[in-house]
Amino acid sequence: MAPFEIGLLGVGTLLLLMFLRIPIALSLTAVSFIGIFWIRGEQAAFGALASIPYDFTAHWTLSAIPMFLLMGGIASHSGLTAGLFDAARAWLGRLPGGLAVATNFAGAGFAAASGSSLATTAAMGRIAVPEMLRLGYNPSLATGVAAAVGTLGAIIPPSILIVLYAVFAQAPVGKLLIGGILPGFLTALCYAVMIVVRSSLNPSLAPPVHETYSLRERLSLVVTIWPLPILVIGVIGSIYSGLASATEAAALGALIATLVAAVQGRFSWSVLSNSLRDAVTGTAMIFLIAIGASLFTRFLAFTGIPFQLTEYVVGLSLDVSTILIMTGLVYLVLGMFLDPLGVMLLTLPILLPILDALDVSLIWVGILLVKYMEIGMLTPPVGLNVFVLKGVVGNSISLGTIYKGVAWFLLAELIVVSLLILFPQITLFLPSVMSD
């Protein structure tokens, strides 16, 4: 059998193994091992298993992942981010759909402290959803906004996905992280407009809340969230100003979160030990998949599939936007079923050579890919953000209800993605200011 056919068989087998509930990482490992065995022989297959896990892991830039996870863990375990929703509510509560808008912006704020989309979703689900339900908000809207705003966790820096993308694509990680800022806020803005418009047209979605806050109260609520700007300035500021590389900024961020928690008297050994444990298990889980994907990348290279596909696509001489839209559709389909990290790591070996041949900005594309992946976190049947939210709200609300609420946010995403493709400057402006 020709390597190309072995490759196709390998992809089919991979899908079957994943369907049979073998962890994604191990499915990737199994197919790669057998495929490399077949094409290059026994010793090569064992050699790859022996060397790649260590070689992939012993990596300086990737150390940002456990450190960003730790920073987010400390911020939420110690309650640094707990006041976000209350503050947003005091300022935005009187808008149509005000609490949903408040959830939306509180989520964006939380995203600036957390590197992961799941963590952001879980936090908003715990803090904001019960409040909205209590005040008579439509369950679809209440859960939809929390699931959707979770995606900002991976776009607004810090972001685990962006660090991984940067390493695989050999693109500058600092600029990529900074590049996520404006697209993240653009998303939050589009979400907010959509919520306000919908709630104005159909007030039963979000009954007006008659809470009045004096200016004094509003300001004092803002003061309670002072640690957050410190954390954001600590991380983004140290990258931007050049005090630290992106990797070093992750360490400073974790340290600042700890210090701020200590100053506020919210620090305890259990906060630290829970945050450390979450950082370790989160890292181990992510790396096992990445190691599997790294093996799979090698297997695919031997089959020649990425090269042939690159030749084919480049031969079509499509323009860049068309390729990006096609990629978006592929991600939409894969993202329905697969873990987003898996989607990215599976497609990068094929996509990167194509983009390289077209000389496209890897920063612009990277942010767009993260956006695509995060959309996959929201689409049925496997929408991880939706699952996390379902875990938080329990049996009172069905998955179908959450997906229905999320659908409106997917509509808003369509607009955001179109803007990002049409106007690369949205992504590239801040990174370009960095280099002046």
């Binding site: 070689d55 830039t61 050999q170 500058p172 290279a301 031997f302």
Partner: protein, 342 residues
């Protein structure tokens, strides 16, 4: 016969573009397509630290093995490679390294054979100078400045009174731009090829030290032994083409920046005697240190190996001086002095 060749560098990097591809293409042409190749560049299947075991295990049939990444796997070869302070003209160092390994160092060949590697040719980067954000030319300018340098070359940074800083090459651009470092040691060519010239326009042309010794052209030894005599002859005939092109490419890339500095907006300064002196003293001491360290690490004949290498450096310096810019003559010299004697 199809050679699956692994390279950690991308197809755009000098070693792949000018060294590996010309070698493989020449072999293909000279064998009338009997020896074909599949190039896996950009670390697609083997990377900087996995190529050596990758060749042994047959993940690839050949690959570029940068010696410095394998200090404990290839201790004998590293005795030569850690003399990076002696690096100068890449054409001299590449030829001297290739000759030393192929003709004067049984231990090198035995070590490579134990990894199932048949060595066919080496490389050297252009000599490293100080690439700085600000114009720093004297010892007092350099004093206390943060200078990115790797491994053995960190000694040069220390010798001029700087503070050696290690960062990965992908962090250097931002490091220079944002002031984490003041200078990096590197080839002036990097100002263009790695765009460092956007943020660091000043070169203090010390031209001392380089990264070399990475055998660029290597085949799996068991594959090599299975080839016919004719096929082996073809590969040996193709190897000097790759070695010559890569050495000239490195040299030209660096020379171009130095010669066109004014139009490119760069400021190239020759070091004064005072800087020269401390660097020369360091090179002297470093050579002693490497021999001592290698002997201590149990490398037999470290003295003899280093001696042969230094002799070969001198020999190729003379040859290259005579040849000037004639790449064909250089290639012919490689055949005459090295490949013809195998």
């Amino acid at each position: 016969e199809t050679i699956t060749y692994g390279a950690y560098g991308s197809t755009k990097s000098v070693l792949v573009r000018e060294g590996i591809i010309p070698f493989l293409e020449a072999a293909k042409e000279k064998s009338s397509n009997e020896i074909d190749y599949q190039l896996m560049a950009g670390g697609a299947v083997v990377g900087t630290k996995t190529t050596l075991a990758g060749i042994r295990d047959g993940i690839v049939d050949g690959g570029m093995v940068s010696t410095i990444y394998y200090p404990t796997d290839l201790p004998v070869l590293n005795t030569i490679a850690s003399l990076s302070v002696l690096g100068g003209d890449p054409r001299v160092a590449a030829a001297a390294f290739t000759e030393t390994v192929l003709l004067n160092c049984e231990g090198c060949l035995a070590e490579l054979a134990s990894w199932n590697v048949q060595f066919l040719g080496g490389y050297s980067t252009a000599p490293y100078s100080f690439l700085c954000v600000d114009p720093l030319t004297t010892l007092s300018d350099l004093n206390g400045k943060r200078i990115r340098s790797t491994a053995a070359l960190s000694g040069i940074a220390t010798a001029v009174g700087g503070v050696p800083v290690n960062m990965t090459i992908s962090e250097v651009y931002e490091g220079l731009q944002r002031g984490q470092i003041d200078c990096t040691l590197g080839s002036p060519g990097w100002l263009v090829t790695r765009s460092f010239g956007d943020v660091a326009k000043n070169v203090l042309l010390t031209a001392s030290g380089a990264t070399f010794g990475g055998p660029m052209l290597n085949l799996r030894k068991d594959m090599w032994e299975d080839l016919t005599d004719t096929q082996r002859a073809v590969l040996l005939d193709a190897a000097p083409i790759g070695v010559a092109k890569a050495a000239f490419a490195y040299r030209n890339e660096s020379e171009k920046v130095i010669n066109d500095a004014e139009t490119l907006g760069f400021n190239v300064t020759q070091p004064g005697q005072e800087v020269r002196d401390v660097i020369d003293a360091h090179i002297e001491a470093e050579t002693q240190r490497v021999v001592a360290a290698a002997s201590e690490a149990g490398v037999a004949d470290a003295d003899a190996i280093v001696g042969a290498f230094i002799e070969n450096l001198a020999k190729w310096e003379t040859i290259v001086d005579e040849l000037g810019d004639d790449i064909d003559a250089y290639e012919a010299a490689l055949r005459r002095e090295i490949y013809g004697k195998l």
